[in-house]
């Protein structure tokens, strides 16, 4: 069952508050800006493409559109277990078109006040982390705010190119 998320009414919110979709990868919580999320669908058949990067799971048919699917668990380096009834594909719209992201579960849609978000460097020190925008400290857990373009392969390849040219 597809869950269509209304995004329009939140467009005018002050910048000090983040409206996000929170999902789980293994035991970690991540969040994406709700504006980028098109819909959330249950796991469906994915056709793998020979020779793709290991985190590119393949392509799937979303109402007649061919949408590439990325296993976000593999991309983010967390344990990629078996799919469960809770497994979802979060369909996002990126600069390169629609992309499906496999997550272990979508937990909630929430607002995070800006003062609860800290830059990622103050908590974790991963030098080449292209996709973390910040960490939100909630009462019961930490949620990593994810930068969509940074998590996608196109951005990654570009980043590699840039670092290569900087080295040269």
């Amino acid at each position: 069952m597809a869950t269509k998320i209304e995004t329009t009414e939140f467009a005018a919110q002050p910048a000090t508050e983040e409206h996000v979709v929170v999902f789980r990868l293994a035991a970690e919580y991540y969040a994406l800006d709700i504006q980028t999320v098109q819909e959330i669908v249950r796991m469906q058949t994915i056709t793998s493409i020979p020779g793709s990067d290991f985190w590119v799971e393949g392509i799937t048919n979303l109402r007649g559109r061919v949408v590439p699917v990325i296993d976000l668990r593999k991309r983010c380096g967390v344990d990629a277990g078996e799919y469960s009834p809770e497994t979802r594909i979060v369909v996002v719209s990126s600069a390169g078109g629609m992309v499906g992201l496999i997550v272990d579960a979508v937990t909630e849609v929430m607002r995070i006040p800006g003062d609860q978000v800290e830059p990622p460097s103050s908590i974790v020190s991963v030098p080449d982390n292209t996709y973390l925008r910040g960490i939100a400290k909630l009462d019961d857990r930490l949620v990593s705010l994810m930068d969509l373009e940074g998590v996608l392969p196109a951005a990654l390849e570009e980043g590699l190119l840039q670092s290569a040219s900087r080295a040269a």
Partner: protein, 705 residues
């Protein structure tokens, strides 16, 4: 004057106007592009008129949006064309050259409207050139092409048949008045043809309309224009006529002129001043008694086909929807089969029959809908072919050759996506034909051929393919040079090159990095030609072949599918993934146990019709590194690319199917050996195999160097 290049420009139009402007500009520039070349020599007056009107329209629209440079340039072109139209200037090749140069600049200028950035193009020298050719005396004494007696500024004359004059005289004797009525329609009017028709109807009500320009049949067919002239007999006063006609919407001006019997009696001299028109036209009415039937002096009877412009995106969307319908149909058919298997015993015959009826009807309708929508995306190939005369003219001039181009099959229709893709390869082949194929006039004379070479471009449909042939009567492909070149470039051993048959050697023109022209010219490039052409054609699931006879000429034939949206493919299963192999490249598909398989150097090889085909596991060739399924590899599919063939090993054959090609998207990008995906009957996806790249790669691997 400092260059203004790169500066931002501002035009007086919003987005909707921009679209309209671009469509109109494109249309008129296209028209000029295709017709200016034909202007040279003795042009058809209708053609001149058409070209003049195109320049005029461009001038108007560029002035409206405030594009001064474009308006000035089109004005200069229009001035020259006007002189040609009136016979004051012969359209020599200098004139055509200046106009073509102007046209090239126009294209850039029209694009400025889209980019809003000054291209830095200077129109003043072009305008000066145009004025210079206009001032330059014509060769051959400068006699105007038309009747010298007619003052140059007068055009066109309206000719009354003798019978009408008699009727008019009789009418005047009967107490009626004979009038010339000239009606001008508002230039902004969207539907001048309808207004023209209304004007004629209004005149009909007032009296007896003896003649109209344009002719009544043209106006009734919807070809009316912004100006109508009528000759009628009426009992009404000219004032009454004017009031009645002004009642028609969009009528800008009306002028009437009462003719007396003298005017009609002495028609040859009856060149009267124009009616005191309220505004527009400078046309002078002259009466010439002439037994021949009256001819419409302006405008060919244009065929009034009805059409609607549709946004391509919308059409693509429709096509996608139909694609989904097709899938649902297949799915329904599968369910039907399952249902009838389950329900057979349950005494529900009537129900299943109804269901079957409905699904098969749906199938028919869907097929037809798909066909119709596909057809609506089809355009005649004319738009590509009309660009060719200009190209041939330019190339021939550069190489000092004389070439006549004949095109045929302009009506052949193909999908607009194919039209976009076919233009470049075709241009390339044509350049080759002129530059490399056709000999110089001296060589041709020495060979006993006419000095002017002949290049024929023909398009035609056959089954679900379109064919394009480019044929020249030049010297043919020089296979001895090819044999030497392949050895020189290290593409082949001397022995192999010598041993090849003529037919095989001719195919080497498609090898990368080979050019047989003795001198590298800026016309046909430097050997990065035919191989790229072939790659492009094959990307479109097409095939290209070349034939040649020494001294007689060569012919290149391109075979393309009618549309890129769907492809006929052989569906196969390899390691649990469904693949679609385009049928155009499949030569044979057979079961493992029927195949004649041998091992050579440890490689499995298929012997098929006297040829040895290396056998390749399809999934592995595509980079599928997952463990193989047990009991797979039971079938082989022989596929070709050019003259190379290989045999793919697959697990199962699933039959032929029309597949709707979908892109994998930017994110996945181009994967080796895969051109796209297609949605299967069960809603999952299959991958479309890029046979061309796989066959050449694998065949190269299999052939020991």
């Amino acid at each position: 004057m400092a260059s203004t290049k790169g500066q931002r420009l501002q035009f007086d139009l919003d987005d909707d106007d921009l679209k309209l402007f671009c469509e109109e500009a494109d249309e008129q520039i296209e028209l000029l592009d295709s017709s200016l070349v034909q202007l040279e020599g003795e042009p058809d007056p209708d053609l001149v008129q058409q070209i003049f009107r195109a320049a005029h329209t461009l001038k108007g629209s560029s002035a409206t949006i405030g594009h001064k440079k474009m308006a000035n340039l089109t004005h200069a072109m229009e001035t020259v064309l006007d002189a040609v139209r009136q016979g004051r200037k012969r359209p020599s090749s200098d004139v055509v050259d200046a106009l073509l140069a102007g046209l090239d600049a126009l294209r850039v200028l029209a694009n400025e409207v889209v980019t809003c950035i000054d291209s830095g193009i200077e129109t003043v020298p072009l305008e000066a050139d145009l004025m210079a050719v206009l001032e330059a005396p014509d060769e051959e004494g400068g006699t105007p092409a038309t009747d010298p007696a007619a003052p140059a500024s007068e055009s066109p004359a309206f000719t009354l048949p003798a019978a009408n004059i008699e009727t008019a005289l009789a009418g005047i004797g009967d107490g009626m008045s004979a009038y010339f009525v000239e009606v001008g329609i508002e230039p902004e009017c969207q539907l001048p043809s309808i207004r023209s028709f209304q004007v004629i109807q209004e005149l009909d009500a007032l009296g007896q309309v003896l003649e109209t320009w344009p002719g009544r049949d043209l106006i009734e067919a919807g070809a009316g224009e912004f100006s109508i002239v009528g000759f009628l007999l009426s009992r009404q006063s000219d004032e009454q006529l004017q009031t009645a006609v002004r009642a028609v919407t969009d009528v800008q001006s009306i002028a009437t002129r009462l003719l007396n019997t003298e005017d009609l009696d002495q028609p040859q001299r009856a060149t009267a001043a124009p009616p005191a028109a309220a505004g527009s036209s400078r046309q002078t009415l002259s009466l010439v008694e002439d037994g021949s039937p009256a001819e419409a002096p302006r405008g060919q009877p244009r065929k009034a086909t009805q059409s609607v412009r549709i946004d391509v995106e919308r059409l693509d969307g429709l096509m996608n929807l139909v694609g989904e319908l097709v899938i649902d149909r297949t799915r329904l058919q599968q369910i039907r089969e399952q249902l009838s298997a389950v329900l057979k015993d349950a005494n529900l015959n009537e129900l299943t029959e109804n269901f079957e009826e409905t699904t098969s009807h749906l199938a028919r309708v869907t097929d037809e809908l798909q066909e119709q929508i596909m057809r609506s995306r089809m355009l005649p190939i004319r738009s590509v072919l009309t660009r060719l005369p200009r190209l041939v003219r330019d190339v021939a001039a550069k190489c000092g050759k004389r070439v006549e181009l004949v095109t045929a099959g302009e009506e052949t229709e193909l999908d607009r996506s194919v039209i976009e893709e076919i233009s470049d390869p075709l241009v390339h082949i044509l350049r080759n034909a002129v530059d490399h194929g056709i000999e110089t006039p001296e060589e041709r004379r020495a060979a006993g051929k006419p000095e002017t070479g002949l290049v024929t471009v023909t398009a035609w449909n056959q089954e679900t393919y379109i064919y394009l042939s480019v044929k020249d009567d030049g010297k043919g492909i020089d296979t001895s040079t090819l044999r030497r070149k392949v050895v020189e470039k290290g593409l082949m051993s001397r022995e192999a090159a010598e041993a090849a048959t003529e037919e095989q050697a001719i195919q080497w023109v498609f090898l990368p990095g080979l050019s047989t022209a003795k001198v590298i010219s800026d016309v046909s490039g430097r050997g990065v030609g035919m191989d790229i052409v072939r790659t492009n054609i094959e990307r479109l699931n097409g095939q290209i072949t070349v034939q040649s006879t020494p001294g007689k000429g060569s012919e290149v034939i391109i075979q393309l599918p009618l549309t890129l949206a769907t492809t006929k493919a052989l569906m196969v299963m390899a390691n649990a993934t469904v693949y679609a192999i385009p049928l155009v490249s499949v030569t044979e598909a057979l079961a493992d146990h029927e195949a004649d398989i041998h091992a050579i150097n440890g490689r499995k090889t298929l012997r098929l019709r006297q040829r040895l085909l290396p056998m390749i596991d399809l999934a592995r060739a595509l980079g599928d590194s997952r463990p193989r399924q047990i009991g797979g590899g039971k079938f082989v599919v022989a596929a070709r690319h050019g003259d190379r063939q290989i045999a793919f090993v697959v697990d199962r054959l699933l039959g032929e199917q029309d597949v709707v090609v979908k892109s994998l998207g930017d994110l996945v990008g181009n994967r080796k050996g895969i051109t796209g995906a297609t949605i299967l009957g069960d809603g999952t996806l299959g991958l479309i195999v890029d046979t061309a790249s796989l066959v050449s790669e694998q065949a190269a691997l299999a052939t020991p160097a």
